[in-house]
Chain length 752, copies 2
Amino acid sequence: MKCAENHCLQKWLLVLGFLLIPMILPGQSKLLPVQYVNPFIGTENGGNVFLGAAVPFGLVKPGPDCGNNDNNSGYRQEGNINGFSHTHVSGTGGGAKYGNILLLPTTGDIRIKGSGSPRSGEEAYAGYYSVFLSRYQVKAELTATRSTGFHRYTFTNPQSGNVLIDAGHFLDFGHDWGEAQEFVGSELHILSNTEIAGYSRIRGGWNKGGAYTVYFYAVFNQESIRSGTWKNETLHPGVLDQPDTGDKTGAWFSFNSSSGGPVLVKVGISFISSGKAKLNADQEIPGWDFDAICKQTSETWNSLLSKVEVDGGSEYYKSMLYTGLYHSMLMPTQRSGENPKWKSTEPYYDDYYAIWDTYRTTSPLLTLILPDTQRDMIRSMIDIYRFDGYLPDARSGNDNGRTQGGSNSDMVIADAFVKGLKGIDYEIALQAMIKNAEVPPGGNEQKEGRGGIEDYNTIGYVSTNHERAGTRTMEYAACDFAIATLAKGLGKTDLYEKYLKRSSNWTNLWRPVESFGASGFIWPRKRDGTWEENFNTLQPGSWGDFFYESQSWEISLYVPHNVPGLIAKCGGAEKFETRLDTFFINSRPNRQGWMDFYNVNNEPGFLTPMLYHYIGKPDKSSERIRQIIQAYFSINRNGLPGNDDSGAMSSWLVFHLMGFFPVAGQDIYLIGAPHFPKTTIDLGNGKEFKVIAKNLSEKNRFIQSATLNGQPIDRAWFRHTEISNGGTLTLVMGESAAYWGSSGLPPTDPTE
Amino acid sequence: MKCAENHCLQKWLLVLGFLLIPMILPGQSKLLPVQYVNPFIGTENGGNVFLGAAVPFGLVKPGPDCGNNDNNSGYRQEGNINGFSHTHVSGTGGGAKYGNILLLPTTGDIRIKGSGSPRSGEEAYAGYYSVFLSRYQVKAELTATRSTGFHRYTFTNPQSGNVLIDAGHFLDFGHDWGEAQEFVGSELHILSNTEIAGYSRIRGGWNKGGAYTVYFYAVFNQESIRSGTWKNETLHPGVLDQPDTGDKTGAWFSFNSSSGGPVLVKVGISFISSGKAKLNADQEIPGWDFDAICKQTSETWNSLLSKVEVDGGSEYYKSMLYTGLYHSMLMPTQRSGENPKWKSTEPYYDDYYAIWDTYRTTSPLLTLILPDTQRDMIRSMIDIYRFDGYLPDARSGNDNGRTQGGSNSDMVIADAFVKGLKGIDYEIALQAMIKNAEVPPGGNEQKEGRGGIEDYNTIGYVSTNHERAGTRTMEYAACDFAIATLAKGLGKTDLYEKYLKRSSNWTNLWRPVESFGASGFIWPRKRDGTWEENFNTLQPGSWGDFFYESQSWEISLYVPHNVPGLIAKCGGAEKFETRLDTFFINSRPNRQGWMDFYNVNNEPGFLTPMLYHYIGKPDKSSERIRQIIQAYFSINRNGLPGNDDSGAMSSWLVFHLMGFFPVAGQDIYLIGAPHFPKTTIDLGNGKEFKVIAKNLSEKNRFIQSATLNGQPIDRAWFRHTEISNGGTLTLVMGESAAYWGSSGLPPTDPTE
C-alpha cells in the first residue's frame, strides 16, 4: 500500500483512524488532526522532507536510508533500503548532513556491503513508519521519543534474524560542491548479550561544520545467540570492542527469531556521551511496549497539531494543512541537555537549517501557535551568540554555518519582539544583532555574521568583490530595519536612526534599466561605484554569484520593510501592478526546472504574491495565491514545489490556507482568502484567534466585507497585537472581486 | 630532600646516578645527559615549568596539582598536593589550561573536598616524579609513556588505601581576565573491580578555546574491595555509573593495602574516546613493571638530550644546558591519532602555546637537533590550516587561539625553509601564510590570523582603532618578510616583491621623538595619520594596549629582517650602540617585577643583546649575554627569569650556552662565546656540527680568531646551510676583546 497518492487518501485515513481509534472519543466521528498528516507529501520532486518516526522537533529522527542520491532526508521512493539511521534533516538541499547510527535487520550470513533490501508495504504516520524488507522477509517498524529510536522487527523467515548496527554510516554526497560529510572516527562496545554502545564522529556536510559526534546506546528485548563486530570491511565474530582507530566500525546481534517473537530495540541517541544516550533511552522508554510509545508520540503530535482546528473545508486541504503543520515542527531539533560545547541553563536547539529559509514563515507560525517553543528557540540562538560569538543563520551538528544571505536571526528576533513574545533578553539580543551588523566575520563569511559588511558599511552596498553581493545588500537592508525596529522598541533612538538609515541601502544597487517593460532593477555594482555591464535580470545564481537562489526580477521586489518606497522606485502603483503581473504571468518551468520569473520555492519571493495588498488590490493577491497553490501543491509525494527547507515552504502554505500571511519582522498580517470556513487557532495563552469565512466556496472566494473583533474593517491587514489576547476575524465571501480592503494600505512599523 | 637547591646538586646527581646505574656502561664514569636534568629549575619565580613525569612532547604529563594560585603547570612548592592530574602545560602564563583526570591516594573515609595532603621527600627526574603524602602516609610515584600515566602508590599505613579519581577536576583560575576554564560535563563508568573509564569536558582557559574532552581508562594491578562514585558533592557507594548530566563526577577504589603490595594504576588518556584511551594504555604499558617504564622513559629522554654532547665545562652549566633542552621538549604535545576534529594521515601536534614565544628559539633549536620532529610539527600546522582555516599562532585543547602579536607560524615555516628542512609542502604553506596576510579574521582577532590587517594593508600600519597595534605592526612586517623569503625561494617574484615592500611597514610607526638620549620610537598612530600624544616609551602593555608584553624602548629594536635599516633610523652605528647600552644598562626590576628597559623574559627582546653584531661588535653581544645569564639564570627553582613559555626561554639559554644564536626566519646564526670547550650536535642526518672553544675559561671568554670547517673566518655569523651536512666551528678564546668578527656584518636574506 503506497499511501502518498491522492486516490488512496480515504484508505489511508481509514487505516490511520483504525490505529488511533482509542484516541477518538465515543460518539466522535470527526478525524483528529494527526490523522490528516501524510508524511509522504513532499518526499519526491526535491521536497526532501524527512520520512520516518519523530516527535515534534525530535532529536532523533529514525527513518529509512536509501542510498546517496542527493536525497537529503535519506529517503527516496526508489531503490533499496540500506537500513534505518537515527539522525536526519527535513526538506533541505545541497550536500548531505547526518544519517548516523544505522540499524538493519537481516537474515542469514552477516554481510557488510550490499546488504540493502527491496521494500514493500511502506506506511508512515506522524511518529510511526513501517516497511516490509522483502529480501529478508522482515517487517520493520519505527517509532521514537525525543532522543530514542524504537524499532520492532518481525522476522517471518524461520532463519535466525540479525540486527546490524553500522556506526560508520552517514549520508555521503555533495563532494562536487565541497559540501560532503567526512568520516572522522567511530567506536563500538558490545556490553552484554542485549546491549551495545558507541558513536560515530563526522565533520563537514552542507554547512561545512566541524566534527560532531553521535553517541548511542542500544538495548534489545531478548538475548542474542551470537554477536560480533567489524572494522572497515573485516568481520570479527565474538570480538566485543572496536575502539576508535579512525576506522568505520559496526556490530551485529543474531537472534533466534522463531522463539523470541519480534526483536525490539531501543536506540538512545546523545550528542554528549553514550552514558547520556543510555540515560535518554532508559528515561524515555522504560518498558518494551512499542504500541504505547507509538500512541504516545501520535498523541503528542495531535496535541500540537490541534493548535489549529478547522471546521468545514475539504479533506484535501485539511491533509495539506496538517501535513504542513507537521512539516513545520520537524526542525530545528530540541537538544537541551545535549550540547557538548558549553554548559548552560538556557534551552538548546540545533539544526537551524537555515534561518534564511524559515524566518519568513516558520518563525511567525511558531510565534503564533507555539509561542513558548519559539521563545526557547530564540533564547537558544542568543545562547549560541553568547558562547560561539555569533547568532546562527544556519547551524547543524553544533556548528554555525552557512550564511546564505543576510544575518536573518535579526528578523526572527524583531518578529518576536513586535509580537510581544516574553521571556527573551532583548537587550543582549540587540547586542548580538549589532555584532552581525558591525563586526565582519573575516574568513568565516559563509559561516556567520555578514560577509562583505565592510563594503556595505562604507560605500552603502556590497560590491562585486564579494559573492552574493546582491542578495546580501538586499537582506542586510532588511536586517538593518529589524535592528532599527528592536532599537526603537528598547528606546534607543540613536541606534534606531542609524539602522533605519542603513535600511535604505538597497537603493544603492537600484539601477534604472528596463527589462520586459519594467524599469529599475537590483544590479551588480563594483567597488568604484560603476555598474557591471554583463548582466541579465533573469540570471539565477547560487553561492558564488550575485544572487543566491534568486535573480534580479525576483529579488528587486524584496524590500519588505519599505514596499511603498519600492513602488515609488518602480514608477508608482500602476507600473508596479503591471510589473507584478509580468512577474507572475511569465512564470514557467525552464529547462533546469527553474522558473524564469517567479519561483514559488525561492524564499526571497515568499511575500511577493501578496504585494498587491500594498497597492490596494488584496483580491489580486489572493487570486495569485490560489493559483499558486493549485499549480504547485498537492497531497501527493510531489506535493511540494521543491525543498521544504525545514518547513519554510509548508509554513507558507499553512498561513495561506488559514487566510492570512505574516510580514516577517513586522507586527503585520496581510489578509487573504481562507481555504476553510472556520479556523480556530490556540494562541498558547488560553486565548483563541478565529478566522471565519462566511459563504466560502470555490466560487465564493472574494472577500466582500470584514469585521475584526466585531468591528467592521476596510483594511486587508491586522496586527498580531490586535489578536494576541484572542479575537475573531470574520470575512464575508462572495463571487466577485469587491475591492474590499483597498483603503488603509498596510503600514510598515516602526516608521508608520 | 629538596633537590632544586644549588648546594644539593651533587647529592641529587648521585641519587639520579644510582637510579640510572644500569644505563652507565661498565667503566663509564661520565654522567649521562639525562642525569643533568633538574626538573625543579624554573618551577618558582613564575617560570611555571611542568613538574611531573612525561616523555618528550608527551600527550600525558601526570604531575602534582597544588591548588589554583596562578600556577599554570599545576605545581607549586607550597601548600597541599590535591592529587595528580594528567594534562599540563609547561612554562605558560595567564589563565589556566588543563589539569584533567586527577588521581589521589588516600586512607580512611572517602572525602571529596579538602582531601589534599602536605608533602615531603619530593623528587623529580626526566620521566619520573615521587612524593610522600604525609597526611595519608603514602609514597606516590609517577612515570609515563606518550599517552599513559603510570602511578605507584605505596601505602605505609595499615588502614586500607583508596584511590580517588576526579573527572571533574581542572585548573581553575584566570576568571578576572576572562581566561578561566569552564566546566562542561564529565562521565564515569566503573567497568570492573580493577577498571574505570570516563571523561572530563572543559572549555575556555587561556586561549579561550572551545570544549575539549579528555577521555581516560584506568586499570589497577589489584582488585578493589569497595568502590563507588560521586556526583557533585554527594557520594554514591556501590553505584558504578555516572552518566554525563553536566555535573562533576568522581569515583573511588578501595584496596586492602596491607596485603597486595603497592597499588599500581595505569591511566590511559585520549582526546578521542575512552576506548582509544584503553588501547593507548594496553599498547604502551602491557605489563606492570613500573621501574621498567621509568627506565624506558628515562632512556628516551637521554637519547634526545644526547643530540647535544658537551665535553668539559662546569657541572653547573651542564645542568642548565640539559634542563634547558628538557624544557624545550615538553611542548607542543604529540597527538597524532588523537585529533577528534578530522581524520588525516598528517602528524598532529597540539599545545602550540604560543608560537609567538617559541618561533624565535625553540623552533630553530628543533630544526637543528630534531629536524624530523620540527618537520612533523610544521606539517601538523599546515594540516590545521587545511582543516581549521588558519595556521595556529597559539593552539590548545584542539582549538586555535590566542594570537598575541603576529601570525608567527609564518616565521617558523620560513625558518625551516631557509634551513632546507625537507618533507614539507611549502606551496600550501605559502598559501596559508598569504591567508594570514590577506584575510582578516573578523571577530576572531584574538583567535587566529592577523587582527587589524585591513589597516595594515591599506594605510601601512595597524591604527589605534585596534588593540596591540604597535606589536602587530612590527610583527606583521617581520612576518611579511618571512612570506617574501618563502616566495622568493619558490620562485614567485611578484609575491616576493609585494611582501618585501610590506615588510618595511614598521617605518610607518617610527616617530622621531627623543627618549633618554635615543631618537626615534615606535609610536601609536591614529587611523587619520596623526600621532597619539599621551604615550610613554617605557609604558608596558598587554592584550588591550598598544604593545603586548613589551614597551617602545624594547620593541623599537625589533626589526630582525632589517637591522641595518633600523640602525640607520636610529642615526647610525654609533648612536645605535649608545642606544643599546642605554637599553641594557638601565635595566632593573621595577615595583611590578618588570624591567624599565630590557626584560630578558620578553620575547620581542630575545635577539636584542646580539644586535651589537650588526655594528661589528660581537664581543659586546657576548658580554651582554654572559651578564644576562649570570644575573637571571641558575639551577635553582627560581632559575628562570619568568615564564619559560613552552621552552622558549630555555631554548634561548641552550643556544647561548652552545655559543651561537639563530636569527629566526633567516639562514643565519650569530656566533657568541660558548660556555663549553666542546659541543657536538647530532644534526639528525648522521652528521655532526661541533663547536670548539679553545682555551675557554671564565677569563678567556673573548673570541680571538675562528675557523669554520677548517677555513679562517672573520665574520661572527654562519649559515645553517654551511653546517647542515656536518661541520666544525673552532673558536680560539682569549682574555680581552679582540675585535674579531668586526668585518662582514650579518646579511639579511633574502635581500642580500
